[in-house]
Point group: C2
Amino acid sequence: MTDAPATPYLAVDLDVLSRNLENTARWARARGLRLRPHAKTHKSPEIARRQIESGAVGLTVATLAEGEIFSRAGATDLFVAYPVWAAGERGARLRALAQGVALRVGVDSAEGAQHLGIALAGTSASVMVEVDSGMRRTGVAPGEVLEVARAADRAGVRVAGVFTFPGHGYAPGGAAQAAADEATALAKAADILRGNGFDDLELGGGSTPTLAHSDATVLTEVRPGVSVFNDAQQVELGTCGWEDVALTAVGTVVSRGDGRFVLDAGGKVLGADRPGWATGAGRVPAMPDARVVLLSEHHAVVELPAGETLPELGDRVAVAPNHVCAAANLAREYVVTMGGRVTRWPITAAGANT
Amino acid sequence: MTDAPATPYLAVDLDVLSRNLENTARWARARGLRLRPHAKTHKSPEIARRQIESGAVGLTVATLAEGEIFSRAGATDLFVAYPVWAAGERGARLRALAQGVALRVGVDSAEGAQHLGIALAGTSASVMVEVDSGMRRTGVAPGEVLEVARAADRAGVRVAGVFTFPGHGYAPGGAAQAAADEATALAKAADILRGNGFDDLELGGGSTPTLAHSDATVLTEVRPGVSVFNDAQQVELGTCGWEDVALTAVGTVVSRGDGRFVLDAGGKVLGADRPGWATGAGRVPAMPDARVVLLSEHHAVVELPAGETLPELGDRVAVAPNHVCAAANLAREYVVTMGGRVTRWPITAAGANT
């Protein structure tokens, strides 16, 4: 018996990870875009450190708790890309964070700006007004950006810029249009702000599928998350190839027969994200024709085309999750392979939702 | 400012939980069925203790790691309802577990039985042969049960019975048929085994949606999981009402407008399970007409019918997850309300997948 990790576990190929880091950094550098990768994807101080070393200007986080963890781990420049409701205890936590790092916080309402003004008074923190570019999640319409910015101004907190998440680009063939929407929305919002005395604005966008289509004549900063690892969704969207997938969940074949086999890596490992256009609940990079047809909490049922050879009971099979951010959040550590060596990195910010 | 927990968090109503525990226990007792609730749902030693106190004969777990945790927490009778591949280090762990508790382990292949025989030699542990009753996940066809049972017998491990998971009952109107399939499959498998010298068999079934339809003339044991909490799926399947939902994820309204509001309880809190028949990605019990139309990692976008009043920014809103097992696994503790008092129970087995 070897000392291979017990399955299921998350395996990270450091060569691929490093190449992904460099590729994204080089891409942004070539276009004069500031790179602020989204740390919600990996939740790992070790990976964050490598992102900064490869040229990122800082990190994006989704929650205050993630910001606190990355700050403790040494991050000095953070953007909480979320309309943080900074009333009460959360305001006190945000203030403490702002006293330790260069901080930007998202806002999409005048009321939210008022609370941020109180929480951040006397700190150097600033806000970024969130604009909806077509996803219909958070963010105001570009034409409504001034009301929020003025509320922030009145509340005494500096407006650093505008940002959007072109999440409607997560659809086959949808990335180019979503990136165009992103640029249009940011340009319109920024024009309004500039026409009303707000200057020196950051224009932040950029998701992994839309990244290659980003309009560098409009945007000043991008914050891709998934591109550090990539996943089955990105391959199926055409954003990357299998050779770019740095993270897989490794499972053991526990059952087999009738053109199918079952792995012990289920939804509690892979996450249950399954957009309508996905071929299944993940993919097996080594078996491109295999389909993950059913996912329970502890079972991934994988179907092979007629005639293909099933793996044996006890074999280990690597599965690329559909959405790597969800899978990373479910684990506690990465098993990182560097050539023949194996090390483990804690997923320090897993579950840091508050 | 109160000391209310930071959102998002999982709230458990102890009155509802206690009633659910009692109802399930009473139901099983009245039918002469042994109750072995599935602890993968709650992952909490405190809840497991209450299940045993209310009459459960033992616990079901999905993974060896869960078994280890519940054994350390005082459980004495465990069934790992999974075809555990007990080679190598996992075999050693299983053996150690079998030395501390009364243990049953699932098996669905002759090869699996051989490994279990080696791992469990000299212990009192036994195996339960898994039968497929229509879900097409793990388990052999009822007619093939003898090969697996004989392999276990040859490997020196006692065959305690047969079990199945009628998971195809997770569909509107599907529960009664799935429960009938469950009884048919278990009866056929048991008949074959009894005709070949295997006696004193346990016949284990029972999922939350099929439970009320269980055939107590065939089954001897049931192992519902979700029924301890219930969730949006069970309400939408008609298994229970909103008054039976003991767990919700509490989020804060961070954005609103245009007939929609956004909560900070997203897929990293609620889980991303969304079967095709669900109305959305969870439900808001206090707003029966609301629909969770979009779920991102940290956003739940909730739509209200025209004319209904949106909650205010900063309001707290409770969401019932679609699948409570996934939500519980994502958190680290329950915030438990007992009348006016609040306490916290750790979700000790969260992430215990190996």
